[in-house]
């Protein structure tokens, strides 16, 4: 969604073309992200001729301030939806930065790894908006990601297993 998409596209901005094909997954309720992604990829294709990417939508796991119990149900639904998608894509690397949408995808990737089907490296970058506290996605994925990146020193102190590279967006 919105700010998350802008941030993740900035994270991608310096990646080499070895990170290809790129599979973007976002919430079906998100209207603006598709345009931002297309614009980013369009610019990228001006530099790299063989740029490949796909777009996929999944049901949004949780609306802002949605209640706990209904969140569990909607997240489970999103997981059921994202499992076949993740299985189809079999990513080597999952990169995410915090919208609820990323949790089902990461869980699917973890499951694929546990089942011996495909082991992905899961990299989570917490949003630059998070200076003192982690987002809910961050709190969950801190334990399940391979690399957890924070952008402010306070969070590095609070979450010692995280990686601090300074501001990267």
């Amino acid at each position: 969604t919105g700010g998350h998409t802008t941030e993740i596209l900035r994270l991608l901005s310096c990646l080499s073309e070895s990170y290809s094909p790129r599979h973007y997954i976002f919430a079906d309720s998100d209207k603006m992200s598709e345009a931002k992604i297309l614009s980013f990829e369009q610019k990228r294709s001006e530099t790299f001729s063989n740029s490949q990417f796909t777009l996929d939508r999944i049901p949004r796991s949780r609306e802002v301030r949605q209640s706990w119990t209904s969140s569990v149900v909607t997240t489970l639904y999103s997981i059921l939806y994202s499992l076949p998608l993740t299985y189809k894509l079999k990513p080597d690397l999952v990169l995410c930065n915090g919208p609820g949408t990323c949790v089902p995808v990461c869980i699917s990737a973890l499951l694929l790894g546990l089942l011996g089907i495909k082991r992905a490296i899961i990299v989570y970058v917490e949003s630059i908006c998070r200076v003192e506290t982690l987002s809910l996605s961050g709190k969950i994925l801190y334990y399940f990601s391979d690399y957890f990146i924070v952008q402010w020193p306070h969070l590095k102190e609070k979450y010692p297993k995280s990686v601090y590279l300074g501001r990267i967006v």
């Binding site: 900035r10 994270l11 970058v125 949003s127 990267i168 967006v169």
Partner: protein, 104 residues
């Protein structure tokens, strides 16, 4: 206006920006090098949305006030005290990822 697709043009022409504490608004303004006054409405916003505005204020990049002190702030502000906001470094992330994935 209600919603515009991009405020880039308005930002470019502005000499001063007065904004709510939304991260996107703050960062977009600072990156364009415009002086920024952040108006904080604690009743309306989540705690976490204030984190960035508070940090930016601590680091001297923005002025802060609330709705009732906005006029005073505008009258007494000294924008020369604001520090420029350095850009982020996505290339550091790329380097890190290359190492992690094994491209380096």
């Amino acid at each position: 206006f209600r919603f515009k697709e991009s405020l880039a043009e308005d930002l470019r022409r502005a000499d001063l920006v007065i904004s709510h504490a939304g991260a996107g608004s703050c960062l977009e303004t600072l990156e364009k090098g415009k002086p920024l006054i952040v108006v904080i409405n604690e009743k309306l916003m989540n705690n976490h949305q204030l984190e960035l505005a508070k940090q930016l204020h601590r680091d001297g990049h923005v002025l802060c006030c609330n709705c009732s002190t906005l006029v005073d702030t505008l009258q007494s502000m000294d924008l020369s005290t604001l520090k420029p906001f350095p850009p982020g470094h996505p290339e550091k992330f790329a380097l890190f990822l290359d190492t992690v994935v094994g491209f380096q």
